[in-house]
């Protein structure tokens, strides 16, 4: 047992950011735990990219688009070939779908959505937000390999300066999958999703009506961010629940979170208070959102948001 294996997902011919993040922390763990960093991929395009992040080998199984059972069989094969002491996955939909399946198959420990990872006394130690970020749990993850999914934006991607990784083709035993993908639908083509966004602009009930979400969209578009929303606006049908931030929405930790017309209820704060920089615009000086905001602006969002959008556009034009 040695080394770190990372699930490397490719989208549009490039390694997903979540996978680059997982490789970057994986490289540090491999240095501490001993052994090499390697990647598992289903696409040879991952090999060159993964090499840049320090992977020495890439195990490639050409099994096509994501399907739980097939990927589980392929990963199992790669794990038994490499015998890593740690297996990491970026916390994407697929990473989170696959990790528990592998852990149950191998009877090993898994920690989800971790924002810190260390190798201590021959064990993987992880920190993860619990109670929607109201507390942090530090856990020891046992098993060969110990598994973790990494929280988006928690581990900065760092290139290692190395070259392409060696490709090792693996053959996967034919399995009779009980589920099959019929179709993939992309409803909001081009819109960034809050799960992986580096910048999020969120709107709340202060927007007054659905049409005014255009103010939030315009700012998000200008700044290159994703559109977030409070539950009140989702429940009112102003915006799809995919955008909801909070305890029953997504827990996010972007670099910059801008909230306009959001009061900052405890369930909303739980989903965004770990953002690195928080700007809040609210006309009520007592709004609880100001307790977590690094920059709070007491004022009318209908005036300030469009003005900010113009400023951002101007700044980008220069």
């Amino acid at each position: 047992m040695a080394g770190v294996l990372v699930f490397a997902e490719v989208k549009d011919g490039k390694l997903k950011r979540a996978s680059r993040e997982a490789l970057s922390i994986g490289r540090k763990l491999a240095a501490a735990a001993g052994g090499d960093l390697a990647a598992f991929a289903t696409d040879r395009a991952a090999a060159a990219d993964a090499g840049l992040y320090g992977a020495k080998k890439v195990y490639v199984a050409a099994v096509g688009p994501y399907a739980t059972e097939t990927y589980a069989a392929a990963v199992q094969q790669a794990i038994s070939q490499m015998q890593p002491s740690i297996f990491l996955l970026g916390g994407t939909s697929n990473g989170r779908d696959l990790a528990p399946r592998i852990a149950a198959r191998l009877n090993v420990g898994v920690a989800s959505d971790v924002d810190r990872l260390e190798w201590i006394d021959g064990k993987l130690r992880a920190r993860r937000p619990v109670y929607s970020g109201k507390a942090f749990a530090t856990v020891d993850v046992g098993g060969n390999p110990a598994i973790a999914t990494t929280r988006p934006n928690a581990f900065p991607p760092e290139e290692s300066g190395d070259g392409a990784a060696e490709v090792v083709d693996i053959t996967v035993p034919q399995i009779q999958a009980k589920a099959k993908l019929l179709e993939t639908r992309t409803p909001e083509a081009g819109e960034l999703t809050i799960a992986e966004a580096d910048i999020i602009v969120s709107g709340g009930r202060g927007l007054k009506e659905a049409a005014n979400f255009s103010l939030i969209r315009d700012l998000a578009h200008a700044i290159g961010g994703a559109v977030g929303a409070s539950r009140a606006t989702v429940d009112a049908g102003w915006i799809d629940h995919q955008h909801q931030v909070g305890q029953t929405g997504r827990v996010v930790s972007p670099n910059l979170y801008i909230a306009a017309g959001v009061s900052g209820a405890i369930q909303h704060l739980a989903g965004m208070s770990s953002s690195k920089h928080i700007v809040a615009i609210n006309k009520d000086p007592e709004a609880p959102i100001f307790r977590v905001a690094d920059l709070g602006v007491v004022g009318d969002l209908f005036q300030i948001v469009p003005a900010l959008t113009e400023e951002v556009k101007n700044a980008k034009a220069h």
Binding site: E69, S93, R96, D97, P100, R101, A103, A104, N107, V108, G109, V110, S112, D113, R125, R128, P129, Y131, S132, K134, A135, F136, A137, T138, D140, V141, G142, K178, A179, L182, T184, R185, T186, T193, D198, I223, Q247, T248, N255, L256, I258, Q267, S273, H277, P285, F290, V292, A293, D294, L295, G296, V297, V298, G299, D300, I304, A307, L308, V312, A315
Partner: protein
């Protein structure tokens, strides 16, 4: 068409979390416990399947005595049977919980097994797929739409910026996302009817499992801590929108450094 719904009982989302002495658990004193919000969508979907096709809806919860309240509430909403597996769930890792639930599900008639996409509080999103693996079933996670046909189910799975439509052979594991349905409240009639149903109780040993495989295995909690209290930062007056916008831009560029 029979369904099983796995119900996690969790602290109320409004609750302030305090850490218990020893620093490895939360202090439960005075905490209100609720049915985990995503499990409500799971239960509602199972009840709708029952209403359309007949069959039973069995709710199962693994936890201390208080878990009975959660099961009672599910019965009042329309579940037809309930099974409580007694145990200190706080000492079990996700795979331990999954082993307990898988064993309980095996002895309960089922075509569909429902979970929440995540337990609110543990925030793991692990138990559902683990049960699927242990039982050798297909899984569809983070489901926003479900159609149940003959021997198969078609489910819409939410992924980043898109959705997948997946067909799974039954029995299958489905984990519910918000948007799957609009959960009903318990009616007075439901509350009365639920009182007549006995909640079956079992121990981990009754399921033929060893405590040593369930508790304090694989994943062990070293510490639980509260995050450092975030102090509000600067507050400025936005009466002059243009000036406020300039101030925000300055912050974004110089401190957040994202532009």
């Amino acid at each position: 068409m029979n369904s099983v719904v796995c119900i996690a009982q969790v602290p109320d989302t409004e609750a302030r979390i305090k850490i218990a002495a020893g620093g490895r658990r939360i202090d439960e004193a005075g905490l209100k416990f609720i049915v985990s919000p995503y499990d409500e969508f799971a239960l509602e979907e199972a009840i709708r399947v029952k209403e359309a096709k007949g069959g039973d809806v069995t709710v199962i919860s693994f936890g201390p005595d208080r878990a009975q309240q959660a099961l009672r509430e599910c019965l009042a909403r329309g579940a037809t049977q309930a099974l409580h597996i007694k145990g200190e769930v706080a000492d079990a890792d996700s795979l331990g919980i999954a082993k307990v639930l898988a064993a309980a599900i095996k002895s309960t008639p089922h075509d569909l097994v429902f979970f929440g996409k995540q337990g609110v509080g543990t925030d793991n999103s692990l138990v559902g797929p683990m049960v699927a693996e242990l039982l050798g079933y297909p899984q569809v996670n983070v489901v926003t739409h479900l159609e149940v046909g003959d021997g198969k189910a078609t489910a819409h799975r939410e992924i980043e910026g898109a959705e997948e439509i997946i067909e799974a052979a039954l029995p299958a594991v489905i984990t519910a996302q918000k948007g799957l349905n609009e959960p009903r409240y318990a009616s007075l009639k439901g509350i009365m009817a639920a009182k007549k149903i006995t909640i079956e109780t079992k121990s981990v040993a009754d399921l033929g499992l060893q405590d040593s495989d369930i508790f304090n295995q694989r994943v062990t909690t070293v510490a639980i801590e509260l995050p450092p209290e975030k102090k509000g930062g600067r507050k400025i007056d936005g009466a002059d929108p243009a000036a406020a916008a300039k101030e925000i831009l300055k912050y974004i560029r110089e401190e957040a450094k994202v532009l």
